[in-house]
Symmetry: C2
Subunit: 242 residues, 2 copies
């Protein structure tokens, strides 16, 4: 077991698991094995000594789509006068990898996820993925309405503050720096020019990827110009959709 | 009206529209105005003389999410033994811009879309977008089950041949060439090397974007190596998700 750590507990007792699931989702599952699978990260399967034969990835695929639809419907109704650009941005903020990991921890999923990882492994997305898989399990076990009820009553209403989210400026610069690190790409910012005086001052920044300029932005401060260039970069690489 | 063309007809009679909708979706709408909005491309709104005050973009946002969930559920159940990679690929093929435009035309949406466009404008996505908006309208008008029934019975079962789709190799090269044209980027393919002899021969191709190499692929023919490099490129730029 050198360099390995086991996250969460392996459930020997299905009643124990059913109780834990009930605390999180609000009902006892019909099919507790379905919910168990939702908790299994692929690292716990690849090991041939594991008693888990399949990971939660198929359930994650399903849950991701169900979550997307429920959040779209919710935002559509909460914001009857906003355009689709606003709705898309708000949804991205709610279902971003970062936000889903955070929500997963808030509802206590991190205590029951089943994974087997090197200590150095990135564990960032394990909880968010299990959260999506859990939604997939609820959807299969109890149907659309139950999945919707869980998402709204147990997740969005208690933990998503829309007013705060509306104002939250996405930090595009830190997002693309993270992205470049993950993708092992070389990314730098450069201030290209500085024109005008005082209040009229305008800076132009650019983002270079592997030495090649790919996006620009003009604004009244260096920081804002970089954010604008980074936002443009995000659009080109569809980084916020992740 | 120079250089302008009107696609579809403006409905003076709501009963006429309700009948046309019925022929496409299989039922008379409760709220015919909702369905009318689903047909309005933004080009018909921007003109201030237009009687259409809002476009179908919000409905498209909603319908896109509902369609994604219905297709995910459908594929999840049709393919109980395939992994999420397969399911994701199949869904991409079904909900790609190209496929949605095609499906929209098959169900006859192209005859009733309301748009006002320069002849030179790209009209590619108008029908697919209206198709998604129509799903949004059905969802709001009659609920989840009705949207699902429409998607499965009126679109997927008659027009999507899964066996054909499974075998269909995505033409990654043509996809990224299209993408680069749309984004006004400079994209070229290059064969980097050619090693070995006869059956052992291996070609390596790369894709350069604006003069900078961004993806590579190795295969036994030049054509296949280019496809592989283009596939890698698609992943990086998330082009198939569009």
């Amino acid at each position: 077991m050198n360099f390995k750590t086991i996250l969460g507990s392996f459930f020997t007792n299905k009643n124990d698991l059913a109780k834990k699931i009930k605390n999180i989702v609000g009902f006892y599952p019909n099919d507790v094995f379905l919910f168990e699978r939702a908790l299994v990260h692929k690292s716990a399967v690849h090991d041939h000594t594991s008693s888990y034969k399949k990971s939660n990835e198929r359930l994650e695929f399903l849950g991701d789509a169900v979550l997307g639809a429920v959040v779209a419907d919710y935002l559509f109704k909460v914001y009857p006068n906003e355009d689709e650009g606003f709705l898309t941005k708000m949804r991205s903020k709610i279902v971003s990898r970062h936000s889903l990991n955070d929500l997963a921890k808030k509802i206590g999923l991190d205590h029951i996820v089943i994974a087997r990882l090197d200590k150095k492994s990135k564990t960032d997305s394990i909880y968010g993925n299990a959260f999506e898989a859990l939604i997939g399990a609820i959807y299969l076990d109890k149907g659309t309405k139950a999945a919707e009820k869980f998402i709204l009553e147990r997740v969005i209403h208690p933990y998503i503050l829309l007013e705060k989210l509306e104002k939250e400026e996405t930090n595009f610069k830190s997002r693309i720096i993270e992205w470049a690190q993950k993708e092992k790409r070389d990314l730098i910012f450069e201030i290209l020019s500085e024109k005008g005086e005082g209040r009229e001052k305008v800076f132009e920044a650019c983002v270079k990827l592997d030495g090649k300029e790919v996006a620009r932005g003009k604004e009244q401060s260096k920081k804002k110009a970089e954010q604008k260039a980074a936002e443009e970069f995000c659009k080109q690489f569809k980084i916020l959709d992740e």
